[in-house]
């Protein structure tokens, strides 16, 4: 049920939603970013990446290199169904905040069991000591006549790939600030 609400909210705000098995993620990534240059965090499960992309693993890549990438693929920490939000917490499979900011396409892989019903539930699952980025749809602005327009400074294309419960698990346990990515 949370899943249906989440999908409705995400699509309502202009994010694309794909559902597939864990071993089919690479196909989805290929369809979106095949032949392009893609930044990945150091802890990203490699089977999510198709051979067709040029992968740039973030081992403290300089800003300029990240800025030239076409897309980025990450996992997520938590999602909020009620608000259509995915939250990144900079774990090893999500990487530094900068890598999901500069490329124009963000593909985010989410497990069904990472979906929280609402904001209170999501906050309880998060560690405030980690840098957190809450993402609800692609970059947008309401600054021109208070109409929502998509596409300003952040990624203009947001894809959520939702995989079943029990798929890949985050490599570093949430809660230990010393486990932050050393990138």
């Amino acid at each position: 049920m949370h899943l249906d609400v989440l999908i409705h909210r995400l699509t309502d705000y202009g994010a694309a939603v794909h559902r597939c098995a864990d071993d089919e993620v690479a196909h989805v990534v290929d369809a979106i970013l095949g032949g392009r240059r893609v930044v990945i965090p150091s802890g990203l499960p490699r089977h999510w990446l198709p051979d067709t992309v040029e992968a740039l693993a973030d081992d403290n890549l300089p800003t300029e290199r990240i800025a030239t990438a076409d897309g980025v693929v990450t996992a997520a920490a938590v999602a909020v169904a009620e608000t259509g939000t995915v939250i990144l917490d900079a774990a090893a499979d999500q990487g530094r905040r900068i890598i999901t900011l500069l490329p124009d396409v963000h593909i985010c892989v989410l497990r069904v069991d990472q979906i929280a019903a609402g904001v209170p539930d999501a906050l309880a699952r998060l560690d405030p000591r980690r840098p957190l980025t809450w993402i609800s749809g692609p970059s947008a602005t309401s600054d021109i006549e208070l109409n929502r327009v998509e596409g300003v400074h952040g990624p203009r294309n947001l894809h959520l790939v939702i995989v079943p419960r029990g798929s890949h698990h985050s490599l570093d346990p949430v809660g230990d600030p010393h486990s932050l990515p050393q990138a």
Binding site: R97, S139, L146, H153
Partner: protein, 484 residues
């Protein structure tokens, strides 16, 4: 804190910042009312946001309980503000940040300017922040040879147009798409001359214009929506991604925050993160919210400074009725529903805080006599109270501030005001029956005075300039009763 507290806390100093207008509200409002384009722009924008907001608030079954929870958390916060701020300082410091205390705008500007100067950078990028607008930080930076670049789209429109912000959330709300296109064509170096006025095209132009700034500027300045005392976590809520750029890319981040933005616990965020987007932009959640706690090794700015700004807030806290204005989470819902704001726009208020909340915030931050016309910039209809996500009783504060102004006026002037004389005369008359009856008979004369909108003659004309004079009946109740 480095100062010894003696007596009443100070209000925001004069000569710095943007809390005081050059002219009283009625004078400025009259000019705004004559601007038909401004009224069309505002009517369209506030109508749009009211409809969006009502739709997403309708989705939340426990909205009233959430509002009450927001009010209660803020009331609790204000009741123990010093303790919470010290807890915040400890948590931020433990996480690798540096906390600075600024008693007023002058001190805050000096702290920030010194911090930027120490980095050797002559340019800073800014996330939209009411606190830095309040203290006039951009002017202080420019005076020190540092170029501030506003990165929020609406702030950029205001900055490029050499304009003033007119709304808390959308500082360029008074501009429509055609005007924004004109500003971009005129002021944006290298902009495509074939630029259209499609909002998506204008947003794309801003994206190209600012990209280089984001990648090359080493210092950023932000405000904060929330600061969690328990954990030392700061939160910035935004839409475009300019906030994420400024909070992630530079080496040094300086956050200027009004002391009232602290909340006690991490769990308290659940209330405000549900209230703010729906009341503010009419979204279930804004596109981006960034949260950070001090410094994270290898991720984001490695040098983080938090400047805690008082600038009249402690003085507000001392006022039992007025202090609830400190509960404000800057959503701007009260502006969007206010019949006065919708017609006059934000510039008429003279302060960076316009609309109903501005009419209670600005006079309290500066001392009521420095913004004496603002508590009267309202019809007391109460729409702002109903719209406020943290239930600030703005009409009651307005009445309270009017009383404060009357008292201040009386104490300053040896002669009572015309209003006070009239009220005293009315009270005496009503206490004496023959006088009252004579007055009732005489009041029929106003049937002629008030006709055709002429209003009363001086010195009473001040009352009727903005009000219709009610027509007294041809016969009073007493006269009718005697005739029966």
């Amino acid at each position: 804190m480095t100062r010894t507290f003696l007596g009443m806390p100070a209000t925001a100093p004069r000569g710095v910042g943007h809390l005081r207008g050059d002219e009283p509200f009625p004078v400025a409002a009259r000019r705004s009312l004559a601007d038909a384009q401004l009224r069309r722009n505002l009517g369209h924008a506030t109508g749009t946001i009211r409809a969006k907001s009502a739709a997403v608030i309708g989705e939340v079954p426990d909205w009233e309980e959430l509002r009450e929870a927001g009010r209660a958390i803020k009331a609790d916060t204000m009741a123990r503000l010093p303790e919470l701020l010290q807890q915040l300082e400890t948590a931020v410091t433990a996480a690798g940040g540096t906390v600075h205390w600024a008693a007023d705008a002058v001190e805050a500007n000096r702290i920030v300017t010194d911090l930027v100067t120490a980095t050797g950078s002559d340019r800073v990028m800014k996330v939209k922040s009411m606190a830095t607008q309040e203290i006039g930080l951009n002017e202080a930076l420019e005076a020190a040879g540092i170029e501030p670049v506003e990165t929020d789209l609406a702030e950029l429109i205001v900055q490029l147009g050499r304009d003033k912000p007119s709304h808390i959330l959308v500082p360029a709300i008074h501009r429509n798409r055609a005007e924004i296109r004109e500003i971009f064509l005129r002021e944006m170096p290298g902009v495509d001359p074939a630029l259209t006025d499609e909002p998506a095209v204008l947003a794309a132009a801003a994206r190209r214009h600012l990209r280089r700034t984001f990648l090359s500027t080493r210092v950023a300045i932000s405000g904060a929506n929330f600061a969690v005392a328990e954990t030392g976590t700061l939160a910035v809520v935004e839409s475009e991604g300019n906030g994420r750029m400024c909070l992630t890319l530079p080496d040094t981040l300086i956050t200027v925050m009004g002391i009232e933005k602290v909340i006690p616990t991490w769990a308290d965020l659940e209330v405000f993160l549900q209230l703010l987007p729906r009341a503010s932009t009419g979204e279930r959640m804004n596109p981006y919210t960034s949260m950070w706690t001090g410094v994270t090794p290898h991720d984001g700015p490695q040098d983080f400074h938090l400047v805690l700004l008082d600038n009249g807030r402690s003085a507000m806290l001392a006022d039992e009725v007025g202090r609830q204005a400190l509960h404000c989470i800057r959503c701007s819902a009260c502006l969007n529903v206010c019949p006065v704001y919708e017609r006059t726009g934000g510039h008429a208020y003279g302060s960076v805080y316009p609309g109903p909340i501005g009419a209670v915030l600005s006079p309290q931050l500066t001392g009521v006599e420095d913004n004496a016309s603002l508590p009267y910039a309202s019809s007391l209809c109460g729409a702002c109270f109903d719209a406020c996500p943290v239930k600030i009783d703005i009409p009651s504060i307005l009445v309270h501030l009017r009383a404060e102004h009357v008292t201040a006026y009386r104490n300053e002037h040896r002669l009572p005001s015309a209003e006070a004389v009239t009220m005293a005369a009315a009270a005496y008359t009503m206490d004496h029956l023959p006088l009252y009856e004579a007055a009732q008979r005489r009041s029929r004369l106003t049937r002629f005075a008030g006709r055709h909108g002429r209003g009363l003659p001086p010195p009473l004309s001040g009352w009727t300039v903005g009000r219709d004079l009610p027509q007294p009946p041809p016969q009073t109740f007493r006269e009718w009763w005697v005739q029966r």
